[in-house]
């Protein structure tokens, strides 16, 4: 099976190429996109919820179970060595991919949510006391709100929220005012899943560091769209999910600066996170294993490694350029629909379009589009405070990836005209 990466090296004029990015060839790597839904070609516009997987990732999963499956770190036999190398190989890849200093800083987790919970539980409980404050923003996903709320309830700390403007951008002046001696952590999303806003993370980190406050970055939506360099950002914690970046579900990673991890207590107890156990005392393992209790999602990690290779093979520069043009085209196509209003109009925006249509509920929009084979997300997108901020009960959301086409955006616009006709 040829991958897009191999195909890109083929010489000769590609037919649908934009700046060396040939979306039709990319689409061949994603078998699920070939299917028909209700007799129509699938138009998948819900990649912010989960991305589709290239053949190389699917093959890696079956190959792992067919040829490499064994438990890691403990066996002295051949298969265990193969599995351990595959698992640890992905850790190394993640380290290089996000430019961490050491593999000690890469902790495998189930996904972004578990990564944030790990930090809230382990770092938070130790460092946050009654009267302290944690700063988040008004555009956070529930997974970057609730763990902090739980910590606040437990410790008596207070949650402070950076407001956003009508375009869905952070109000940085207000952010600066929120920071004070009581602030113990800033937890902030890099790219909003419901608005598409790209936050100025480097600036946010610098401002926090001026007050000696560490920063956790929720990178779930950033990884599929933009190059992440944790050294450049200088963030203290960074979390992401494999399944948003074309890898399998149930695996992701937490990056944390080694100095912080060294001082953090284990998150869960069990196998792999220990050096020795007696009934009197347990000696914990070294980093990063101290934070990985129980048999992990080994196959998932192997698949994630392949997904990162795949993305790197295409290159973020090409992805960003293509998606920018795709977003421009899709926004323009939707703008021709009179009663439609886009929610989230930040200057710096990823390929996510949330919208409402006067008098038509998003659920009805979603059901009618589904009959055309078009998959969009409708509802509150796990960001109920964002819905409250814009005074809408829900939105429809089309989120695009590099395997989507301008023709698909046009089909969405056509489908929406049909929705309005049907509902009037």
């Amino acid at each position: 099976m040829k991958t897009a990466v191999d195909n890109l090296r083929v010489t000769g004029p590609p037919t649908h190429s934009v700046n060396g990015f040939d979306v039709e060839r990319i689409r061949e790597d994603f078998p699920i996109l070939r299917q028909k839904v209700r007799g129509k070609p699938l138009v998948f516009l819900d990649s912010a919820a989960t991305s589709q997987k290239p053949q190389v990732v699917i093959d890696a999963l079956s190959n792992y179970y067919e040829a490499e499956n064994a438990n890691i770190h403990r066996g002295v036999y051949y298969l265990s060595e193969v599995a351990t190398n595959a698992y640890e190989g992905t850790r190394q890849k993640i380290k290089e991919f996000i430019n961490a200093n050491s593999i000690k800083e890469i902790i495998f987790v189930r996904g972004t949510t578990e990564g944030i919970n790990l930090v809230a539980s382990s770092y938070g409980r130790k460092n946050v006391k009654a009267g302290d404050e944690i700063v988040i923003s008004a555009m956070e996903h529930h997974s970057n709100i609730v763990p902090w709320q739980m910590l606040c309830e437990e410790t008596g700390a207070k949650l402070r929220v950076i407001p956003i403007n009508d375009d869905g951008e952070l109000i940085l002046e207000e952010y600066q005012k929120l920071l004070n001696k009581r602030t113990k952590l800033v937890a902030i999303v890099q790219i909003s899943n419901s608005l598409g806003t790209i936050n100025p993370i480097k600036r946010i980190v610098d401002i926090a560091h001026d007050s000696n406050v560490p920063v956790l970055v929720d990178g779930a939506q950033a990884m599929p769209h933009a190059k992440v360099d944790v050294k450049k950002l200088d963030c203290d914690f960074f979390v992401f999910s494999g399944h948003k970046v074309f890898g399998p579900t149930g695996v992701g990673a937490l990056y944390a600066k080694e100095a912080l991890l060294e001082k953090m207590a284990p998150y869960q107890g069990g196998g792999d996170m220990i050096k020795s156990v007696t009934f009197e005392k347990t000696l914990y393992n070294d980093l990063p294993y101290r934070f990985e209790a129980g048999t992990p999602n080994i196959a998932g990690a192997v698949g994630l490694g392949k997904a990162l290779d795949y993305v790197a093979g295409i290159g973020y520069e090409k992805i960003a350029a293509y998606e920018k043009e795709l977003l421009r085209h899709a926004t323009e196509a939707l703008s021709t629909i009179k009663p439609l209003r886009i929610i989230g109009t930040a200057k710096e925006k990823a390929a996510v379009i949330s919208f409402v249509i006067d008098g038509i509920h998003p659920h009805d929009v979603g059901t009618i589009l589904d009959r055309d084979g078009i998959a969009i997300r409708t509802g509150h997108h796990c960001t109920q405070p964002v819905m409250a901020r814009f005074n809408v009960p829900a939105t429809s959301r089309a989120s695009l990836a590099f395997y989507n086409t301008k023709a698909e955006a046009d089909l969405l616009a056509k489908g929406l005209h049909n929705v309005i006709k049907l509902m009037s």
Binding site: P362, H363, D364, T367, G379, M423, S424
Partner: protein, 150 residues
């Protein structure tokens, strides 16, 4: 397209745009709040019951066309009915919208509610159509708690 037209019948669209009994009953002696956490749909249901007769029934809230029109039609059907009849109709309605897609629906005694038979072809929308009814049943039991579809 045909099953979409069957789901979004003109009567349903009309109730969505101009819902009946869309108000609060100040003198309500039964009320409940219904909530669908998946989509954020919310409904406040008010009842004025005398003896075992529903003298007045109304609702407020925000939701999709299916949930709003279902609530609207329900209020018009239940006004003047006994609480036992209301509970009977709830069971029949529930059976109608959850019957197997493609099968011939049993529309006997359904009256105006028959317009919702298209919902059975859209299993993901059954909760939308049922929200008002679940909330009504909770209000009759005088459960002043929030009803959730989950």
């Amino acid at each position: 397209m045909d099953d979409l037209r069957e789901l979004y019948q003109q009567v349903i669209l009309d109730h969505n745009k101009n819902p009946k009994n869309f108000r609060k009953i100040e003198a309500a002696n039964r009320s409940a709040e219904g909530y669908n956490p998946l989509c954020g749909d919310r409904i406040d249901l008010y009842l004025h019951v005398e003896g075992d007769v529903i003298k007045d029934i109304s609702f407020e809230g925000a939701g999709c066309a299916i949930s709003k029109s279902s609530a609207s039609v329900m209020t018009t059907v239940l006004k003047g009915k006994s609480t036992a009849e209301a509970e009977q109709l709830f069971k029949k309605f529930q059976k109608l919208i959850t019957s197997a897609p493609g099968a011939e629906p049993d529309l006997q005694d359904m009256g105006k509610l028959a317009i919702f038979c298209g919902v059975r072809e859209f299993p993901l929308r059954v909760k939308c159509a049922g929200l008002a009814w679940h909330t009504m049943a909770a209000a009759l039991k005088n459960e002043n708690t929030t009803v959730s579809t989950e």
